[in-house]
């Protein structure tokens, strides 16, 4: 066995292009997904009616099916069903947006529902209007409580972008495969890509660990 890491010095720009695509996909799917998530979360909180039932089903469905199935379904079925051509990257962003929407909606719902009922009662007994209770009493601590779960999901999202290589989106893993095919230095490129993923994700994991420990400490007090 002899690994030749010199190829990396020649071909690394292509991997960096891939990194850019990875980050771009994360950004856009977060953007669209979080907007959808707000609607789904409102629907789940509403407790009854058509909006509630649909939100519950959508959240459960997209959290339960494998990401690859979702990606392939959107990539190969949507163009046939709607007669519209979608680029691989757009399909991928669409699929990951749905993934973000379902998971973040669930995280938001849990954050709101873990509001301390005593604080709500206090706010109501002061006669504070409902919109102020939401903006000042419910949402700020809920955001703080859900930050570990949200960042943890962010790590899952970054890892999930790698799956888009299977439909030909030119993100990092795809670039590594292409360069591997050209130079036969598969292992070298994959190691580089793995290292980049690690560098992206590990700080987030550390944050999750710290934040969770802090929340536990707060509860014990």
């Amino acid at each position: 066995m002899n690994f030749d890491f010199n190829v990396l010095t020649i071909h690394y720009p292509a991997v960096l292009d891939g990194l850019l695509v990875t980050l771009r996909i994360c950004l856009f799917s977060l953007l669209f997904g979080v907007i959808d998530a707000v609607f789904l979360c409102l629907g789940k909180l509403s407790g009854r009616g058509a909006g509630y039932r649909v939100s519950v089903f959508v959240v459960d469905f997209f959290r339960t099916i494998p990401e690859v199935v979702l990606i392939f379904w959107i990539y190969s079925c949507l163009p046939l069903l709607f007669g519209a051509r979608l680029s691989a990257e757009i399909s991928g962003i669409l699929a990951l947006s749905l993934l973000v929407a379902a998971n973040v909606a669930e995280i938001m719902r849990a954050g709101v529902q873990s509001t301390n009922p005593g604080q709500l009662e206090a706010a109501m007994s002061l006669g504070i209007p409902a919109h102020t209770i939401w903006l000042r009493i419910v949402i700020p601590p809920a955001l703080q409580r859900m930050s570990p779960a949200f960042v943890n999901f962010l790590t899952e999202l970054i890892k999930a972008t790698s799956l888009l290589s299977t439909i030909g989106v030119a993100e990092m893993v795809y670039q590594a495969n292409v360069l591997g095919n050209r130079t036969f230095a598969y292992v070298e490129f994959l190691t580089l890509v793995a290292a980049i993923y690690f560098a992206l994700i590990f700080p987030l994991s550390l944050f999750v660990r710290r934040a969770e420990a802090r929340l536990v400490a707060q509860k014990c007090r």
Binding site: F39, E67, F72, G83, T115, T155, S162, S205
Partner: protein
Amino acid sequence: MAVLDELIEISYGCAVRVALTLTLVAVVAAGVWNLNWDTVLNLDFTGLWRFRVAIVKGFGMTLALTAAAVLCGILLGTLLAIAMQVRFRPLQWLVIGYVETFRNTPILVQLIWIHFALPVITGIPTTAIVSGVIAIVLQASAYFSEIVRAGIQAVPKGYWEASDALGIPVITRWTHVILPPAFRTMIPPLVNMTISFFKTTAILSVLSVGELMTVSGRISNATFKPIEILTLVALIYFVFGWLISLSARKIETAMANREAWR
């Protein structure tokens, strides 16, 4: 929670519910309006009947891979978690490095890496299925070790002190004092992780290991009709994953009731 429901009632009123329903109707209407009816009317799910054996076999493979990941994962994960408790710094660093590497990189990268690198390192060519199982088991062991570690940490300090005070031997201490209560608190996260690895098996289809997603790809290539098979496969995954989480909720309620009775 009663107060939150009251807050939602007074702040949602009809306006938000109507807005949500209207949004829903608008989305559905836009979808239906833009549908390509030629495709929709020509959908033929009955054509999948002749692939029933392949689909069932594929799903069996999915379940087998899930079982391998979960069982080996729990076993190796427990060993890793115990190793973390041993007061020997180099060993702890090694375990941390292992766990963090597998938790903080995508399984797809691990999978391909193992598939290409293992034959080079060991000199023995591996088949897709061997690479697939190795990758998923390695990742599972890292994730499960975290769950077991948290479970062990949830065991009250008094259990350790009491077994020290009673002079219980190390092996007995683990098998009879620490691990049983630890596993009980671990059941909900273990079930969630099981669902997660049930989903992960679909990723192994990139090496064509013959599980459900691989089969669906083959069928879709053979028939040129991806919608039917992919929709069916999505539903199979959904129903089965949903059943696991349903049973998990049942177990949790049952356990909570049993605790309440004590």
